[in-house]
Amino acid sequence: MADVVVLLKDVWLKYRVDFKEHGKVSHEDFWALKGVNLEIGHGQTFGIIGENGAGKTTLLKVIAGMLTPDKGSVQVKRKISTLLEIGAGFQKELTGSENIYLISSLFGLKKEQIQARYESMVKFAALDRFINAPVKCYSQGMYMRLAFAIAIHVDPDILLIDDIFVVGDTYTQHKCMDKMFELREQGKTIIFVSHELELVKRFCRRGILLKDGSIIKDGQLKEVVGFYFKTIGDKKGIGILSGGRLGAVFNNGKLMLNWDDESLTKEQGGYLEVLSNGNSYSSLQADWQIIESSPGKVILEGRYWEIPILQICYLELSKDLHEIDFKVELEVKEGCTFQGCALIFMFREDYLQWFDPFSRELFNIIDFNDELSWTRVSSDKTDAGFIGLSGGAGTNCTLPSVVLEDDVVVSGKVLQVKNTDRVFKSRVLESRIMRKKNDFTMDKIGRRLLFHAKIRAFDTAEKLVRFAEDAPGLMIPKAISINNGLELTADVNHRISLYWEKKQITSSKGFQTSFYHNNQIYHSSDGLLKIHRVREGFLEATIEWDGLAIKQIWTFELLKDGLLRWRVFMEVSQKSKIKNNECNIMFRPEYGEWISSKDEGSISQELNATDCRDIIMINDPYGIIGLKTVKLDSLGLPSVLVHDKSNYLKFNSVWKSVDKNVSFYDSLHKTEQVTNINFLDLPSKEQVEFPIGAHLIYDGIILIASKNKQEDYKKIALTDKPPYSGSSKINTLSDDITIGETDYKFNFLKGRGRLFFKENEATSNFGIYTSLYSKDFHDTGRWYVSLEAIWEVLVFTKDRILVRGSWPYLPLVQTWEIKSKKNLFLWNVDMEVLETVNIAKQQAFFMASAQYESWSVADQEKQLFPEEFDLSEWKNLYRNKEIRRLNIYSEAPSVISSFPTFGFVSSQKENNFDAIVENANSIYKSRVIGFERTLDCQRIEPGLYKYFQGAIEF
């Protein structure tokens, strides 16, 4: 080399060590340097690494001329300045400014030289007024800045720096590092000793590895560091995963990733951060020990001295060598507050692109924050299945794309992409757990698996795309399809949509479920949806909710003939109370007409902008609901038919509503109309408590009938046979049933009793019905009318009807028994309460035809109903009058033969019913007579209750 500034030839240096053993003192020579040969060219940045006691500092001192070798020669050709000890030579009593003069003169500067450089030194030290305060008042960082400022202003050609970056704050460290890089650019020769291997690696081009006083590796620093890890590494707290192109080095709390010889991470690499008692504790502070180590697997244990938390890291290199599995368990030893935890990876700034399942974007041009804060760049969506970086160019090759996944569901966990500040200048992928308020599970003593991160590297774009297609979160829509044009896709927003010949049939929300648990409603859209398995014609999705032992599994299966089967399983891992399971399929708003096996109707209605929904209760006993578009619109949407095949009775309804919807592609909040088909579990004894295991809660078949099959659609809907083979529950379901032997007949249909005399119906509208007022836990009360319930026929003989009805969201079951006697129908209503429920009022009514014009109470005189309806003030309420009988009469001679007199009798023994006589409103135009009970204690415990006992006499 032409311009060698430091030349060491076969340098040997020994120390004499006195051993005092067993009272004897013996001297032994200890060779700190053994035949070191070194040649450092001008302008080189030269790193010296090695274990403690390898002779690094001694070598520096030899180069500096402080130590004279016992053998060999040292030649140094330029002016040297050293920074071996922070604050050496400082006079504690003197001010910073006085010390500048003092130390500078020790460096050999003349007074004029010092004066010339003084300003610049003061500026670098950034001490403000403290420059005029005694240095004994300085902080470590100030001390270091001042020392560093002086050392570099001596204007040396060669700068020797020992491991000084262990002291001082990060601001100081980075300021000094920046300056060192600046000096490097200026072509100074810098010889640098540090334990911060990444720093040395970044700073120095060439270097040596010292071991026991000898150079065991000399060359490019990258190689030297690699060699160091391979040879000396696994001694303490250092674990190495190697074997393929992707490698990792775990060095006392930080994980460095490398690809071939390029490092992917920088600064602190991958590390853990624990927030406890208001402080943040980095895994770098912890004391690490290797539990197990092999080239493919490392287990380490880190202990914090400050907090009673133990961290256990399991590192494993996958067989294909492109994936590192990083599991972190935290063991809380004793009570301590624990606010959160994060697994952070700092990657090189060379990565220019980031992505998550929803987007793939370039980093901003203004990348790194000037303030000491990090900026988040990824979206705040919490259930991103993975995040990653790509588009980086290394010095020798393009950097592989990296992906971070985290499998463990912990409440409050978010995957984020960040940019650091200017100082660190790194891209950050992190998995962060922020403790939620009132979440005390984190404080629990014991071991918890908090992170199960997978770091994958992809050297080609194709591999990344392939990964993204199979990943639990989705980057590219994936679909199952069958040849006749039906297609089910799961897209990047975790929505599952149905397509027909490339036309979307469902609205953007598609398939949705919800349920109640612990007085809280859980929607599938709030959970973490992952698509798990896709094979031809089959798709499986799981939905998990934060901190819930309940999981839903959805399966979609394409059957023959264009049928899609949607099944929803509830998987509970501990006995859980779940109710009001709901399954919705949200169709496009063009669907405006519905059909069931018994009925059809229209749902076209003007919608307000707000979330208004007018629910059409279909209560189809066969569980069939069909939808078709109002007119055959330009889109040509096919009719659809949904058939609930599950064993439970379900409340089914259709409504139109306006839903808010967020699209990640354009990031706009959009509202969207939907036509929703809803299947809701009715309260029943069996379903209140779910035992451990998986339960099928919904089993629906969706049939798509294209234009030319419109008639099929209707036919299928109206046939008794569902469009698939299998058993059916239908035979027990309510229908139009009638009893009565004489001219008087009692007909039961969907929660209402109708009285017939010959051909004439004495009742109207609601007929004979019950109604109760209940408040739910939100304290919002509403009336539950028997017409809204779903009814099952339990017994039906020619003189007896036994039916059972239940309401959605109301945990009780009503049983009606109607018996036909000679001149009366007995009407008994029982009520079984399944869960404590609030009932304020219970009523039993007889809504009679408007042909009836007068009424009487018991045996008193007849009175006329008023002509007008809508008379709110006209209401006869007999409170506590022990009225047990109400009569209605028709007056006009023309109708008197068709509408005979009826008596409505309450025969309950503990009669605290109040009798009511009133007119219905002008829509119903009916006479209403009935009995009402206001309950004193509104809390009704589970059990069997008499609701009403009465009769209709004729």
């Binding site: 120390y15 001329g65 004279t68 050293t82 000890e85 003197l94 130390i103 500078s104």
Partner: protein, 260 residues
């Protein structure tokens, strides 16, 4: 010539030496509010104390007794302080040795120079007093610098020797503590050398510091400088101490830092 090389080196690094001297002085007077003024005040205070103790309490009738004592005491302080500080010098200046590539001999040198400065200052303040009390002293001022230089060389040599030996022989500091007291009393400070009984005259010869102290007294108190014997001893001890010092530097300077 290795000796020349040492000198060359020292001269080329005089800035460093300058810094070290300032540092030493700062260490001693840095925190105090009067600072270097103490150097001027101290001799007067000593004079007051002496005249009180000997004049009033002991009732001595020696004329100008305080000046007799002071003329010996000031150079003695210079000498003994230099040595005491040098014994631990390398240990105390370790940070400087490991941070700045300072020639090792510069450490004792800086200490001796610092003490010399203090001595010269206190001497300067006292000189008028000496002249007033004995006007013959004024003729002796011509040879005073020569004595100071010899005394300085001697002190430097002894300081270097002690500073190097002190690194290897840690007990030296304790030995010096005791030795100082002994040498203080066998050195003619509180008495003049002619007060020593005939039988103990060898004491003067065995004490290398004695010729210098006696010489100072001759110059400053008696106003006489013609004593060839004394001059001979002054030159002899100065040269001898420096020869030993250089020998030690050559022998041990490479090894020093490893043993601190």
């Amino acid at each position: 010539m290795p000796i020349l090389k040492v000198f060359k080196n020292l001269i080329s690094r005089r800035q460093v030496l300058f810094g070290l001297v300032i540092r030493n002085l700062n260490e001693r007077y840095g925190g105090s509010s009067l600072g270097m003024l103490w150097v001027l005040i101290t001799p007067f205070l000593i004079m007051l104390a002496i005249s009180f103790v000997f004049g009033k309490i002991m009732g001595s009738e020696m004329p100008n007794l305080p000046l007799l004592i002071l003329s010996a005491l000031l150079p003695w302080f210079f000498f003994i302080n230099s040595i005491c500080e040098s014994v631990n010098a390398f240990k105390q200046h370790k940070d400087i040795l490991t941070q700045f590539a300072v020639p090792k001999e510069m450490i004792p040198l800086s200490i001796v120079i610092s003490n010399l400065i203090i001595f010269l200052l206190s001497l300067a303040i006292m000189l008028p007093v000496f002249i007033i009390s004995n006007n013959r002293v004024i003729y002796c001022l011509a040879v005073l610098p020569l004595l100071i230089i010899l005394h300085f060389i001697f002190t430097l040599g002894i300081s270097i020797i002690f500073s190097i030996v002190g690194v290897y022989f840690r007990d030296l500091a304790q030995v010096i503590n005791v030795g100082v007291m002994f040498f203080f009393w066998i050195t003619p400070i509180f008495y003049s050398s002619d007060m020593i009984p005939k039988g103990y005259a060898w004491l003067n010869l065995a004490n290398p510091a004695a010729p210098y102290i006696n010489m100072y007294r001759m110059l400053l108190y008696k106003g006489d400088f013609l004593d060839p014997y004394l001059w001979f001893f002054c030159i002899f001890f100065a040269v001898l101490s420096m020869v030993i010092a250089f020998y030690l530097i050559r022998l041990k300077s490479n090894d020093l830092l490893k043993n601190i």
